[in-house]
């Protein structure tokens, strides 16, 4: 009996690993013909911006604009979410009373429970109008819109992991600093942030992972235009442009392609690219978190 249970538990543990490899294998397999055929130019794939996958006469598969879309939305989202998330975590763990703390944690968990399509819906309607009104933009489905939505979606992750990191700072450090007469603000930047920095960095990285991988909400909120929101004229970055992300492209196009066609396979290569990005981000986060434990 003991043996059986042990076996089952082991299978459960191993299956997680198997699934990850299986998924990677599947994605790779579906894109394999294109990848190994001499025609596919990886360089051109990454660094050209013409994405005309369905063109009859001259299909072109350059994902530069899609990468720029993902990058711009993610970076702007983090610019919003990181200060808010860290601020909220510091407030929750250090400054508020225990009752308010519990209330805020529940609210933030609720935020995490909102399905992404609902966020997308908010982006499509409320945010869309708001951005048109506030900025006089012709359309509100933009980098800014997607970034705000993504920021709201990644704040819960950032807050909860940062809060854990702050909680892990030994109380004796706080007492030492209080005993020497730190103000609250000095406590935060002289003791808490340096002591918890690895955990906070991990929180930010996981937030980035969340933002890069998010699909439905950005698909609905960013306007779905293959376009690079950067150019040579100031301010160089145009948050009121519409863009399209890597994830949104796969979600929108995969259903319309014939299985095994070139377009279909390219989308899987895009999947591999995405997988590699999020894998790298999460791995870094993991290593950073490990770094905390070893100290």
């Amino acid at each position: 009996m003991e043996k059986v249970i042990e076996f089952i538990i082991r299978v459960c543990g191993i299956s997680a690993v198997i699934f990850v490899f299986a998924i990677f294998g599947f994605v790779f397999w579906e894109g394999r013909e294109l990848l190994i055929s001499g025609e596919f130019n990886f360089w051109k794939f990454l660094f050209t911006k013409e994405w005309y996958p369905a063109s009859e006469s001259n299909p072109r598969f350059g994902v530069l604009a899609l990468i720029a879309g993902t990058a711009s939305v993610t970076v702007l989202a983090m610019a919003i979410a990181v200060p808010f998330g860290l601020g909220a975590a510091i407030y929750i763990s250090e400054f508020c009373g225990s009752r308010l703390r519990e209330a805020l944690k529940v609210i933030i968990e609720l935020l995490a429970a909102i399905p992404s399509v609902v966020w997308g819906f908010i982006g499509l309607t409320i945010m869309n109008e708001l951005i048109m009104k506030l900025f006089g933009a012709p359309i509100g489905l933009t980098v800014l819109n997607g970034a705000i939505i993504l920021a709201l979606m990644s704040v819960p992750i950032i807050v909860s992991i940062s809060e854990d990191a702050l909680k892990a700072v030994p109380d004796s450090y706080r007492e030492a600093a209080i005993g020497l007469g730190v103000t609250r603000w000095q406590m935060v930047y002289k003791v808490l942030l340096p002591s918890a920095k690895n955990g906070l960095l991990a929180a930010v990285l996981l937030g980035i992972g969340r933002a890069v991988g998010e699909t439905m909400a950005v698909l609905m909120a960013t306007g779905h235009a293959v376009h690079i929101p950067f150019d040579g004229t100031p301010p160089f970055f145009h948050p009121l442009d519409s863009v399209r992300t890597l994830t949104a492209t796969i979600a929108a196009e995969l259903g319309e392609t014939a299985r095994g066609s070139e377009h279909y396979q390219v989308l899987f290569v895009v999947g591999i690219l995405l997988f590699s990005i999020t894998f790298a981000v999460n791995l870094t986060a993991d290593l950073v978190v490990k770094g905390i434990r070893d100290k």
């Binding site: 007492e175 600093a177 209080i178 005993g179 730190v182 340096p194």
Partner: protein, 259 residues
């Protein structure tokens, strides 16, 4: 009378303290003389730590604390609403039960107090270096540590850590130093070293030490306070307390009948 008042450092009048509904200190009144070591003894849970921490108000970090009464330190009521806590803690330093250096270098631990209490521009490197050397010499760590000031303070031996925790108070020139069982995490040698250090510091600083170890109270302190259930039972010269205590409860405690 006026002569006596001059030599007092801390005067506590009718001080009571509650954690929520629980009264941990009851109408404490005390006069603590300037420049000597006073020990605070009593059974576990009688409020020694609470009283000690009230003197620089580090207790207030537990949000549920309320107080009544007066505590005057160097002529100022530290419970007044307009008292600056950083300033108070600068002149009333505290050493904790477990050594708790910050996880930064030895050097940075010692200048931490200076850094948080001064403008960045006001501190020159030579001034900081000098403060570090003076403080480490005063706690007799300079010869051991002068070549590894950049190392992490948390990697030192416990005894050195505790001495460092005393040293980091000194650049702020405190008047009073509170010590909560400073030797309870140390071995015999460490305890002796810290006691010698305290003896050397008395005079310049007014030291208040909580201890469970009655032999230690006898060795280091000139005056001794015995507490029970949040009240002061007896406060006298140390030899008086140990040789001919006045209160029956003190006698019982010293004879080891409880605690």
């Amino acid at each position: 009378m006026s002569e006596k008042a001059e030599s007092l450092c801390v005067t506590i009048r009718d001080f009571s303290l509650w954690y929520g509904d629980f009264q941990a200190l009851q109408n404490v009144s005390l006069d603590i003389r300037d420049g000597i070591i006073t020990s605070l003894i009593g059974p576990s849970g009688c409020g020694k730590t609470t009283l000690l921490r009230s003197l620089n108000r580090v207790n207030e970090r537990y949000g549920n604390v309320t107080t009544s009464g007066d505590i005057h330190i160097l002529g100022k009521n530290i419970l007044d609403a307009d008292v600056s806590l950083p300033e108070l803690r600068k002149s009333v330093g505290i050493v904790f039960q477990r050594p708790n250096p910050l996880p930064i270098s030895i050097y940075e631990n010692i200048v931490f107090g200076l850094r948080i209490h001064s403008e960045r521009r006001a501190l020159g490197k030579s001034q900081l270096d000098e403060a570090v050397e003076t403080a480490l010499r005063e706690v007799r760590l300079w010869d051991d540590l002068k070549d590894k000031l950049k190392e992490r303070a948390t990697s030192l031996q416990l005894e050195q850590q505790q001495k460092l925790c005393i040293a980091r108070l000194l650049p702020l020139k405190p008047k009073v130093i509170l010590m909560d069982e400073p030797c309870s995490a140390l071995d015999v040698d460490g305890t002796r070293a810290v006691e010698e250090l305290m003896a050397g510091m008395a005079g310049e600083y007014t030291i208040l030490i909580v201890t469970h170890n009655m032999a230690q109270a006898r060795r280091v302190s000139q005056e001794c306070i015995f507490m029970l259930l949040g009240e002061i039972v007896e406060h006298d010269r140390t030899e008086q307390i140990f040789i001919s205590p006045k209160n029956q409860k003190t006698i019982e405690y010293i004879e080891g009948r409880y605690g």
